[in-house]
Symmetry: C2
Subunit: 451 residues, 2 copies
């Protein structure tokens, strides 16, 4: 846990105390002295009625900062409780992309009223048409663009005149008469350029850009790959539609990592701890039902060997070992494969290249673990044959799962399923059912000798 610069809890107590004694201006003062993320941290922990008392007294830019920093669901709840004109003023002070996101999260009739009442709704409306998960859904308005014939000095005066607060000013995009993207100047180069230099000489004409309908994760990965502070979003004819800023790509990469972690853990669509209870049930229960039906395969295998088990119940003691340890081994391989595919370290075409290494790892680990199991079985149960059977079954099973841990994610990727979601259950089912099958199959063949 990092220690942040302020202690949100102490501030929270102070703000609460001020509100309790009716001292609104102290409460407001305490909050406005903080950085946006901390303002939101304190605000989020207030009760709804405390939030509602406070917000009309905050400066609209502070309320805007707070709504930008809150989790989406929390911001939507606060916004829906505001009066339409109060909400509109706050929306006018938000970054256009954040305002558009918030409008998309609240009830349509409230959103429409607020849009009507906004002074600068024209900045936000074009952003509303893009789907949430696309590059267009992530972009904000590019409010400052340069022209090729401007000089560096003119461009700087222009910036000084507009005195923009925008987070996107570090990269300035250059467009032609038809608003087509023709270049990019970063603020650093503009500042150090000779005053009379034309923008067309200062700009870089090879701009990395992305189509509005591309996936947001693609946008974030491109920004990370090329260390970009801003990525211009264009339509099919290269018109500049907007800009994605680095803070959003930060958030997307973290969201996508969380999604992968959750899906590997069998949690399908929770985005935060605060999702409604029923959504949490919907996110987890179907997955457990699928698990249940997949477990029936192992159950059927075991059921087929009922006679063997009845004859030698000692076999059962090694079930968790034979199935469990190779399951863990499969999970290891699978985890590395899924994550490497997600970060782009591993490309789908390279599937075959990693198999020999994975099999060698499986062999080394399998022989070691198999030998250990044989030893344990012998020492514990005193039946060398049982140890041999359990050890061999585990070793073979680990070889198979180390292959499956690579092939299954690649196959899922090829079939356009998310490997993080679909692979773990398949690998676990395979290692369980195959583990029982080999173990009990060997045991029933060998039973003639060892009882």
């Amino acid at each position: 846990m990092p220690e942040y610069v302020i202690d949100v809890d102490i501030l929270l107590t102070q703000v609460r105390a001020a509100l309790k004694r009716g001292d609104l201006s102290s409460a407001v003062g305490l909050l406005e002295a903080l950085r946006p993320a901390d303002q939101a941290g304190v605000f989020d922990d207030l009760l709804p009625e405390e939030q509602d008392r406070l917000i009309p007294h905050l400066k609209p830019e502070d309320s805007a900062d707070i709504l930008e920093e809150l989790e989406e669901e929390d911001a939507a709840e606060v916004a829906e409780r505001l009066k339409a004109d109060n909400l509109a003023t706050i929306l006018d002070h938000m970054e256009p992309d954040e305002a558009a996101d918030l409008l998309g999260d609240i009830k349509p009739e409230i959103a429409n009223q607020a849009l009507e009442a906004m002074a600068e709704s024209e900045e936000v409306r074009p952003l509303l048409i893009h789907k949430d998960e696309t590059a267009g859904g992530l972009m904000t308005t590019a409010d400052i663009t340069l022209r090729r014939e401007m000089t560096a000095e003119q461009a700087i005066s222009y910036l000084r005149k507009l005195s923009p607060e925008s987070e996107s000013i570090y990269y300035l995009f250059v467009v032609d008469d038809q608003d087509k993207l023709v270049g990019v100047v970063n603020l650093r180069d503009l500042v150090v350029a000779p005053r009379k230099a034309k923008i067309k000489k200062v700009m870089n004409p090879e701009v990395v850009s992305i189509q509005a309908n591309a996936d947001q994760e693609e946008a974030a990965l491109i920004m990370k790959r090329y260390d970009l502070l801003a990525l211009p979003v264009i339509d099919k004819s290269n018109h500049l539609l907007g800009v994605i800023t680095y803070d959003d790509s930060f958030d997307i990469l973290e969201e996508e990592a969380t999604e992968d972690i959750y899906r590997l853990g069998g949690v399908v669509e929770e985005t935060s701890l605060d999702v409604p209870f029923l959504q949490a049930v919907r996110s987890r229960l179907p997955w457990l039902v699928i698990n249940l039906f997949m477990a029936l395969i192992s159950a059927a295998v075991l059921s087929g060997f009922e006679d063997t088990i009845a004859q030698m119940a000692a076999l059962a003691a090694f079930f968790p070992i034979v199935a469990g340890v190779s399951g863990s081994s499969g999970t290891q391989t699978l985890t590395v494969t899924v994550r490497s595919l997600a970060t782009g370290e591993l490309e789908p075409k390279d599937a075959l290249k990693v198999i020999p290494r994975s099999l060698s790892l499986g062999a080394v680990n399998g022989i070691t673990i198999g030998a250990l199991i044989a030893l344990i079985a012998y020492l514990w149960k005193g039946i060398p044959e049982l140890g041999l059977v359990a050890g061999i079954a585990t070793m073979l099973n680990m070889l198979v799962t180390s292959l499956a841990g690579v092939l299954v994610p690649f196959l899922m990727n090829k079939l356009k399923f998310d490997p993080a979601l679909a692979s773990p259950i398949l690998v676990t089912t395979l290692s369980d059912s195959l583990g029982y099958l080999v173990y009990l199959g060997l045991a029933s063949t060998a039973l003639v000798w060892f009882i």
Copy 2:
């Protein structure tokens, strides 16, 4: 998979063909036309002898870009094969933080020779003393600092004179005579400020900073929280030592997410697909051995019920279901808890608050799954009592694991173990052994009735 702007494979083929026909200048031209990340992508796929032929002909700044962009291990291999003076020239062209990292990754005698031969080793030497995982290990030199009494115009002329290439120029830090940090000016504010305005009027005196010995993840989380492009690193007396830039914090957050994903999957210390084979074995085998010994607990439970199993082998069919499904349910809860702790969404002090919700989820899912199992057991085996026993055991087990999925990670966190590493095995062992215990315990008590 995102499509990047260039196709690395096509370029690779072209570069290879040029090298094969001895046309070094074409090969160099092809590579130098690319962006650094793509240069590194192509270069990485060349054979070592091809890399060695190419590198003396590249501009040092391009070689520097490539070494910066390669994975650490790959960059170290390339560097160790270079001549000391060639390596020194390239190091001089690298960002100081990247040069320091590379020097730390190669053989000490090669590193020392290269440092001796460098023209600007004084920028790199101070960075070498900080540990890799700390804020100091992540920072680069702050090569441009401003003074309070400068005007905006003087500051801009100063920038124009130095014409820095540094990535850290978007935030300019202000220091006093003793090099103590007193403020920050962002380039945007400097550009739009009146020309005669003093820096002390333009700067923000409340700078977020971090101590050099703080953890690198803390630095990255602070930068993300406050949307910072650069974070100044200070010593205990507030002297400015260096700056961490946003691209590094990007990388750290991705590394930490990968580490969590790997640890949840039982992969302890692999950082990339290319780690040496023996390190991969060391990263996975001990974990499997621990799994094996934990599985012995379940094995002991099963062994204790050998008589019951021998009397009614049909019980065995439901082992994978009773243990497996509640294991999955525990993994779901655990995954959400571990990730929320890592991103800071959940704070350690809030453990108790999430338990009621987790238990309710466990109850709803447990009753549903328990009922389904009872139904399946009845339909399949035609023994209603068996179904009842398996269903009740699963339901109880899911309640316990939904509690354990919260408590275990919190406890690990409190005990300063990484919850991602220690929790999964504990929760799985608990759900397995407890599942067998309750199921077989109930069954052996009820056996008198149903056979």
